[in-house]
Point group: C2
Amino acid sequence: MAEAWLNEPLAPAARRLLIGAVEAFAARGYHATATRDIAARAGLSAAGVYVHFASKEELLYQISLIGHRGTVQVVRAAAARSDQPAVRLRAVICAITAWHARYHTTARVINYEMAALTERHRADIATLRREIDALVRQTLEDGVAGGVFDVPDVRGTTLALLSLTIDVARWFRATGTRAPEELGALYGDLALRMAGHRG
Amino acid sequence: MAEAWLNEPLAPAARRLLIGAVEAFAARGYHATATRDIAARAGLSAAGVYVHFASKEELLYQISLIGHRGTVQVVRAAAARSDQPAVRLRAVICAITAWHARYHTTARVINYEMAALTERHRADIATLRREIDALVRQTLEDGVAGGVFDVPDVRGTTLALLSLTIDVARWFRATGTRAPEELGALYGDLALRMAGHRG
């Protein structure tokens, strides 16, 4: 279900507004979307939007917050499965990749419209992104320390690994030949190669 | 020079319009950009735009065409340096990465606004993209045939390699710590790992 990214308790109208906003932002971009277009998608008047959200930016912020919290959750769950760096890296990259494939429309909005957030809201989202970044970096460092990974540039490799999973949102289509989990498995294997895993 | 992607002969006003259009599309998105905003950036009237380009979409198409032609050129030049698959793969990924870093604003527009092109224009751009894809895929296949690469999924690995280079446009900033060529070198090394290179 494409709306399963919206895994937080919400009033039905607020939920419809967030779903409508994601669709509108993804189709035409944040700046080209009028609040009344989002309202129409949710079956509300433009004034009805402001009962639930203070502004169009607040809608983008809530979408970004829920989307990033969801990613952090799947990353934490994947990381908790094993203390072994190779198993953990593979599971984490697989999980982030599958999330970006499954919720590619939401993922496009939250990754490509960050510049439209207020400075304060962007800082909140950056905190969540840093948690994911730190977990991948730590996993690489643990693997290097344990002698199972060979990573000359941990910072650059962390960036490359996360960049690879984020770009899935750009090209993935549900009508394609790979299921989100299949793509996750491929990217998990590629991540081990990028980490110089001695299997 | 940020405008060096525009390496084709053009009337000065047409050049200013293309540069203004890239800046406006990157800042607010294609759909939120009015033709008069582009005209203003180029120091022309809105009517002046139509002397050079039939429509806003024609501006996006010319930007996409010149940008993709430029990428194809650097890819061909990098590929021509060697017949050895490992040398060729490293050079090609390094060149595409550096191009997307150096011209990250243009690269964002041409990669993220493809849906705004007419079907016919999108097909032209897809032809150029297929050439790059085919060259990377062939290089992987040559390396597998020659016993220097180990790639269980050539199609998926080609996709991942190009995806990695394209996402550079999203996050790269000229103010960051890595120069385009340094990032290219890192990504070239990671590409060899992803290809299972037996060095």
